[in-house]
Structure formats: structure tokens, C-alpha cells
Symmetry: C2
Subunit: 205 residues, 2 copies
Amino acid sequence: MKEQRSLAVVLFPEFELLDVFGPLEMFGALQGLVTIHTCAEKAGTVASAQGPQAVAEQDFRSAPACDLLLVPGGIGTRVEVENVALLDFLRRQSASAEVVMSVCTGAALLAAAGLLDGRRATTNKRVFAWVAAQGPRVRWVEQARWVEDGKFVTSSGVSAGMDMALAVISRLFGTALAEQIAFGTEYEWHRDPSWDPFARLNDLT
Amino acid sequence: MKEQRSLAVVLFPEFELLDVFGPLEMFGALQGLVTIHTCAEKAGTVASAQGPQAVAEQDFRSAPACDLLLVPGGIGTRVEVENVALLDFLRRQSASAEVVMSVCTGAALLAAAGLLDGRRATTNKRVFAWVAAQGPRVRWVEQARWVEDGKFVTSSGVSAGMDMALAVISRLFGTALAEQIAFGTEYEWHRDPSWDPFARLNDLT
């Protein structure tokens, strides 16, 4: 097992709070095993879709190549799918990353960067059609809590990011540690990637 | 129904990420109904226990009296239970607030401020004994996802804050809106305050 991994999380204006901080709660419990780098086009404060601001410690040019990449969604993705600097950053990080994760409409950013072409992926159920349109060559999965295809792990809406994070932690660091984190955060971890009661609410039907 | 409510969330060094951003994800969906104010002893960036930093827009002196107060936990509470400025802020805000909420070890701060004396309250199951010691006159509940006693609503560890937030939203704004937020965030809302599979893991036995 690799001793220490780095995780880059991408921030952009109007990112979804829980898409970022749900997974970071889980990965943040791995101090000594995972170092978190918050990254944005410009370093400094970035306002979420819900209002509260987070801090990007590094800009896209200064951020190191990381082992793990986390791409959140949020209403800001509607603008960011056209942001060349952000899409370039995703391509550059993904090339060398061990695991690339998206939450919710973060999959639209990976799709717009061409990174999901030919792969299976999922996303938020309420804006499924818009996300799918960003990647016509992606094999979109309509019912899944999260989908793993090679190094890419895409999760459904918002809360699904926490289940995905624990699944990735389980794979990288062992199930016992993932269980310990779920217990410590009093989180009812959904371990079955096909568990998806929200699929019936999607906007495709 | 009151048209617009203000919510103050207290930040301090080494706050727990999900204690803050889980509930703020839910309340943040109520734009136009709830305005969020992030508050700390000094305005500016505040580092979480997990590393990532958030921004406190207001300091304790400049923050307005708010309708709703959210007090997170985190390892930083071990220091903050002695912070007179913070405890004074909690007392001042609580005096006029409609609802005062804590997540996880945030209950230790409310208890240290004397605000829970004679009331029923709960907290994280893994450090229950330490929290209980901060409030010997509190009627601590060992098994509960969250506990409501008058204006005070205290929740269990970390993830429980999201269930509590939806319960409070349901009370203030109606169940339909709370359900809409749970669906929108693809969150499996635990609506039963007595649901607590983590109680068996507490450190009292």
C-alpha cells in the first residue's frame, strides 16, 4: 500500500457545498494517509452555490499532480463546462491520477473534458439529461449510487459523494478503515453501488 | 409563517467539516427564506479539523442577532469549551433565537455555556462521556439521532446534523419543502429521532 496520497479538490464559483465537504469529511479522517489540496482557477476564497465560502489554497498552475482528484457539481457547472482552464486542469490531473472522482453534476465537467468517452458513468438524477448532453459518447447509467470504470468513479447527486468516498477509501485503504470512518461520523454508509431510490425521480421519463 | 429567517453558524479552529456543511447544504437550499451568516471570534479564514478552510464573514461582535443558530462540533471544541468570547456569543444569540441547533460535540459548547441546564440533549456517541461532563445538569439522552427540547435541538455525531436540519426545516417551513430538499440532494433522510444504530458504540459502556 502506498504510504501517503495527495487529493486535489476542484473549487469553482457556485460549487455545491456537500459535494465537496461530504467526501472531504471522509478523506479528511485519513490524516497521515491523505493530504488535501483545495484548487481553483485563482487561489483565494470561492463562494458556494449555497453562499458560504471556502478557500482554494492553490491555483490550477501551482497545484501539484495528485493521486486522487475530486470534482464536485453545483449550479456553477453550467458555466464551468465552457471553462478551458478548468477542463485543461482536469485532463492534466486525470492523466497521472490513480482515482478520479466526481459528485453530482461534476460528471458534466469530466464529460466536457472528454475524459469519460467510452466509459460508464452516472450523475445527479434531477438534471440527468443536461449532464448526459455534455458527453454524447459516455455510456450513462441511469440507476446507480456510483459507477466505477477504471480510474473514474462518478457518483449520483450530492449525498452520493459520501458513499462513493467510503467505497474508494475501502478499496485504497481497506474496509476496516472505511467502516471506522463511517462509525466515527455516525454515517449510514450505503455500500451497494446499485442502491438508488432516486433514479425514479430522474428527468428522462 | 415568517418570511425570511437568518441563520448564524459558529466557526472555530478545528471545527468538523460535515457538522457545518451538512446542515448548511440543507438550509442553503432555502434561498429567499434563509440567509446564512458565518461567524467566528475573528472574521476571515478558519481551518477545519480536516484541513480545508472556510470563511467567517462576521466576528462575534458584528454578527446580527439571528433567528437560527448552528453550533458544530469537532476536535476544536476541547479548547472552545473554555473560550469566554465564544460562550458569550452562544448565550447572546440563544437568548433571542427561535431555534438553537448543535451537531456532535457542539452540544459540549452549549452545555459549557449553561444553555442546556435542565434540558434533554444528545451528542456524539464516541465521546459521550466527555461531552456529558461539560454539563452535569443536562439530561443527556444516550440513544437518539437528535433531541428537541424547547428551542434547543441537539444532534448526534456529524452526519446526524443533516437529519436534524431537515427536521427543523420541516417544522419551520413544512414537510413538503424538507422532502424536496432531501430528494434534490439524493439524501436518505432519517425522520425518526429515535433511530440511532450508533448508540451501541458509545463510550459509556
